[in-house]
Amino acid sequence: MFGRYRGTFRRECGDILVEAESVDGLLTYRRRCEGQTFERILVSKTGEVVINPVEPVNLPREITDFLLVEFSPMMIEPGASRTVYLKFPVEIGVFVESARDIEVLDVFASGTQKYTLYGSPTSGIIARYYESAVYPEIPQVDPFREGVMELSLHNSCREWVEVSRVVFESTDMKIYYGDFVAATATMKVLTKTMAETDFVDAPLRPGMVKSVELYTARKIPAIDRGYLMEWGF
């Protein structure tokens, strides 16, 4: 389903249908996912429809830029480093692209969403919540529901730390897709309560294609600066 399409097309995967068909001479984009439908008439001569996984912070409505993944607690020795694999939720973005511009047409996803508060109610942040197990190898995932995150953990403080969640700013997120959806991230523990997280702009496997990011399509300028987790992990 992920890829670029010109003119009419039809892709169906499970309960997801995405198509562009000519209705009475009008090119019509139509999406059906879990009983919900979305339709738009496209007026375009040279434009392409781009479908790819996007930052999972848009549904049911965009209220935050943050993603929090909670996982089984891990105790990390001072100075130790380890790479593990987590799952993260996938939302599918549909863009219309021409030579001069790209615009978001539709965002949808299978399954439900949940949000949480990271930090205190007065100074914390709202984040999209997802629960994952910790995998030593790349786990099997449904590419339309979940992605694989390679997380490189490093404890740079002088004490043992327990880590059970990681928070990212979605504007830093670099998603790649191929047989599955993937992102590569780092988490550097600075103190007992603070850690720095960031995404790495590199495919998990060679040959993966980089997704068009939502904030790029929305022309929102963003600086990749990572995120500082100040309220524990």
């Binding site: 209220i63 949000y115 990271y118 942040i125 709202i126 929305r218 929102i220 300028p221």
Partner: protein
């Protein structure tokens, strides 16, 4: 008789040596200044539309707008032969007079500046101030404009906003709301709590953390009273609150747990004698 423009322009207007020409220059400079200020402010808003929060964007646009106008005024003043250094001398006395005359204006202005920099409220926030509840439409130099939930425009002087108790419902990231759920005494309260928690869990904006809390709060005359505390994002709490209660009621009823009607058990000392049984007719 020939009409000579130069002569007309050189006609004194009767105040010092000010001529029509210098008055025109003053007006033109000021008009150009206002036009430039508007164009620059519009462009500042447009360029920063998606880069800055609306509050900061409006503040910056207003600062630029009034800054250019003040600059144009200062540039235009010499056309009226106004000696700015003289203003410093005269300013002392005039300042006192103007100060008294415009006490409330200055007070509103200073309050407005404090509001802009202290940020107790921002444009778009849902607030309650001076007994007015609504969303902030604009924070101006002298006043704050609030649109009530009924869509009514209310302008409050900044001094009043600044000196009143301000309740900002969306200042924090999350807020809590409460439901009181009543079930019958014969219903299983633990089951009701489990069902209510399950329904709350399905709502995306009922926050995972802080976790919702549902518990038996007290035993009423005719009902067991459960209380549910639910946290939601501050900007979305109303939608969660209006959405969840009915879903909880439906889920409870589907599982045989009902909301009780008010009832009272009456005991008769001599027992209750039933008259007018089947076949018996009362006259």
């Amino acid at each position: 008789m020939a009409f000579n423009v130069t002569e007309v322009l050189e006609i004194p207007i009767g105040v010092g040596d000010i001529t029509v020409e210098s008055l025109l220059y003053f007006a033109v400079i000021l008009t150009v200044g206002v036009i430039i200020a508007r164009i620059v402010a519009i462009n500042v808003r447009r360029i920063l539309a998606e880069r800055l929060p609306v509050n900061e964007r409006e503040l910056l646009a207003k600062l630029v707008y009034y800054g250019i106008i003040v600059w144009a005024f200062v540039v235009a003043l010499p056309q009226l032969e106004f000696d700015l250094s003289g203003l410093l001398v005269a300013g002392g006395v005039a300042g006192i007079v103007i100060g008294f005359a415009s006490q409330s204006v200055v007070s509103n202005l200073i309050s407005g500046l404090f509001l802009m920099f202290e940020h107790p409220i921002r444009i778009g926030d849902n607030i309650n101030v001076a007994d007015v509840a609504g969303s902030v439409e604009d924070i101006r130099v002298l006043s704050t404009v609030i649109k009530t939930y009924d869509g009514i425009y209310i302008r409050i002087p900044n001094e009043k906003v600044f000196t009143s108790n301000i309740t900002n419902y969306v200042h924090n990231a999350a807020r809590r709301f409460t439901y009181e759920i009543r079930i019958r005494h014969q219903d299983d309260a633990n089951e009701a709590i489990r069902i209510a928690k399950e329904v709350i869990e399905t709502h995306p904006f009922a926050l995972k953390n802080p976790a919702p809390s549902v518990f038996v709060d007290n035993l009423g005359d005719y009902s067991v009273n459960l209380t549910a505390y639910i946290w939601a994002p501050a900007r979305n709490w109303w939608e969660v609150r209006t959405d969840l209660l009915w879903k909880i009621k439906v889920a409870l009823e589907e599982n045989g747990i009902e909301v009780p009607f008010p009832q009272r058990t009456v005991w008769f000392a001599d027992g209750l004698e039933v008259k007018g049984g089947s076949g018996e007719k009362n006259e």
